[in-house]
Symmetry: C2
Subunit: 438 residues, 2 copies
């Protein structure tokens, strides 16, 4: 469940709410700059935004998790090495090009770190690089290094909003979540809309806190929070080569109740993960699957993922069609292929609180069908309509509500439960990823 239940009728309302969440914790500064460049691999100019997240003093209390994709981006390779360093002072992030399997990619990432360190008075190993965007292209290192002093000159300690806006690619809106913890706070931003089925981390997420949480506490807490949030979402079942979650603690606010801190961290991660799905490419319905009474946590999560990744069920949801046959198919597909011994005879399923399957057979009638359609329509984020050029694009760039298509699967043969979030499969997703060449 989201810890908030927000409804926005207009973009301005959403932006005002984001601004109300955006105050930077003590000890951090943010600076952004934007510039044009000419990619090596493409015939036309492109725009890139450089975002600098800087600590006022380097911190020993930092944590990071990265994609498990077997072709990680160069910044992920460099970032994994940074985990062994004594301290971190800044994160430098670019959008547009992800620096994955490009010739000399690691060397380029390290060059950017050297230039960032020079601009901020740090050593290069105190800088963590992050890149997101097209896979396969090369970073325009010279243009980035030329732009860096402008990002450093823009550093302010007021709002994280410029960074939340600076790191996006196909995102429709910036994503910011915060939690108050003692006299301090946790504030986090995320970037990500497609290629989202994180495996141990998601796209780009930055979590800043002024709480004095030691590294030894922060790292396992981040791993647990990521597992229950970003690892439990899927927009399209694809796993980015750049997924990165970074947590930085400036240590300005003394605190010692790690249970309270961890609850705040989980809340921020869960809310931000839901923001990523709600803003997912082409998503018109968020789908929340709660799996109960499964034999193991792994099975509960896998069943949830099998449902939110089933293309036929996703298409049915897009059409406000309670085609629950496709739902049962998706469960049976997973169990038949990966857990053939599991007893499904006690499985019960409900959609929008309405029981649709029990004791091995569907529980359907025309009245239920009408109620199921109403539940699906109530969770729709916007109506689908092609533009005059035939391209489907969302008409809203803010989340109008936080409702979801609510599925509950009671497996009935164990004690484990899990919640998984996903989205539907729409014309808007196909237009985003086929009609326009990225």
């Amino acid at each position: 469940m989201p810890s908030t239940n927000l409804t926005f009728a207009q973009r301005d309302e959403h932006r005002a709410w984001l601004a109300s969440q955006a105050a930077l914790p003590a000890g951090f500064r943010v600076g952004v700059t934007r510039f044009d460049f000419m990619p090596v691999e493409a015939p036309k100019p492109a725009k890139m935004t450089l975002t600098l997240l800087a600590l006022e003093r380097p911190t020993t209390a930092f944590a990071a998790m990265f994609t498990r994709n077997a072709f990680p981006g160069a910044p992920v390779i460099v970032g994994r090495k940074r985990l062994a360093e004594p301290a971190l002072g800044a994160v430098i992030i670019n959008n547009k090009i992800s620096n994955v399997c490009a010739p000399g990619g690691v060397e380029t990432a390290e060059r950017i770190c050297v230039a960032t360190a020079q601009a901020l008075g740090l050593t290069p190993t105190q800088v963590l690089p992050c890149s997101t965007g097209v896979i396969g292209w090369s970073l325009p290192a010279d243009a980035m290094i030329a732009a860096l002093p402008r990002a450093a000159a823009a550093l302010t300690s007021e709002s994280i909003m410029p960074a939340a806006e600076g790191i996006v690619t196909t995102d429709l809106y910036p994503k910011i979540r915060r939690a108050a913890v003692g006299a301090g706070s946790i504030v986090a931003i995320a970037k990500g809309a497609g290629m989202i089925e994180p495996n141990m981390a998601t796209m780009l997420v930055y979590i800043l806190t002024d709480i004095a949480v030691p590294r030894a506490e922060l790292r396992p807490m981040l791993a647990r929070a990521v597992d229950a949030s970003f690892n439990a979402i899927s927009v399209d079942s694809d796993t980015s080569t750049s997924d990165t979650v970074v947590a930085l603690a400036s240590g300005r606010v003394p605190f010692g109740d790690w249970g309270t801190f961890e609850r705040g961290l989980h809340q921020v991660c869960r809310d931000l993960a839901e923001d990523v799905v709600r803003n997912g490419e082409g998503v018109r319905h968020v789908i929340r699957v709660t799996v109960k009474n499964a034999a193991s946590l792994g099975l509960a999560r896998a069943l949830g993922k099998a449902i939110v990744n089933g293309p036929l069920f996703k298409c049915a949801v897009a059409g406000n069609d309670p085609n629950v046959g496709r739902l049962i198919q998706a469960i049976g597909k997973y169990v038949g292929a990966h857990a053939p011994g599991i007893d499904l005879s006690h499985l019960r399923a409900s959609l929008g609180g309405i029981e649709i399957f029990a004791r091995g057979v569907f529980q359907l009638d025309p009245a239920k069908e009408a109620a199921l359609v109403a539940h699906l329509k109530g969770a729709e984020l916007y109506q689908s309509k092609p533009g005059p050029d035939g391209v489907f694009a969302p008409p809203v760039d803010f989340p109008p509500h936080e409702r979801a298509v609510e599925l509950e699967i009671d497996v009935g043969n164990g004690a484990a439960s899990a919640s998984v979030l996903g989205g539907d499969l729409t014309h808007e997703y196909v237009s985003e990823n086929a009609d326009y060449r990225s």
Copy 2:
């Protein structure tokens, strides 16, 4: 590789070619009837086709494979029991409703068998029932039993075409393949367009032969042929609850060279599997992935499936966009999640015969890009355009050519190879599965 390379400019040419393949082997008869009925679960009337495949004399030489979905349809449950029977005399097939997890489904399937046996002078256990269509609805047993005598009266021994046309649901065209074996033949038909990632069998496939092949030879040969054909395709990664492949031998033509027979069986299964993909829901490009030099057959197949099931790569292909970053992402996603120890440093990838990845980095330039686009456009089956109602539907109901998007992945660390077929992800797929409620 397909054993034929067919090109059709018009529907008539395709139908004439199908007719040239359609002669029934000796010892078989086919009868079809169509009728209206009122489904229990829906407020409007529907049409159903009943297809009867009958042997002139019951045969001991029959084989069948069924879905591994953990919620199999009632006909699959009954069909598995039939494998232990001494002989089979007929198959009764309905479309429109798949009889999956419907109340009393098995009893209904057995009632249909009793009525079929009465019409043909068989015992009920000599009849195999098959159903395909909507999951969750109940079969109209009384209407089906009333229609059965008309199907029996229509039985002829000339052509399998009425059956190939009778078993379809969302298929755009009937699918028939044949192979000559000695003085006899193997003739097979398939139904299936969506919910296609078979696990040990696919949708509905019927393989008829007049060759006198004993049951003990036929069953393992069918398992091997299915594994290399229907189990190596995916339209949308969903696994039907009704997948069924049945092979029947009438025994009219003596023969003893089982190597030759098995080659014919494999050819028919491979060709028919490719027909199923080429006719897949919304498929505008067939994608053929050949994985070479992998550490195991399982890994080779899994990498091929990971590529043809990657939604972002599928969308790129739909847009004739050689977004090879998404291809490498799909490989890395699978290996990172399921085979993290594998060495990928020797991996080479080509698209349309053009090398795109080697030694850990992309091998791209603008000239290659143009050639890759040309390869993708050359494999397109039709142009995408919405109708006046905004719904996308294929403008052709025949396969204009047998070209495919050709991918070769040389893993470089083993000796196993596999070929996997899939399709792109298109507006036509979304329209088929979301815009119209099925």
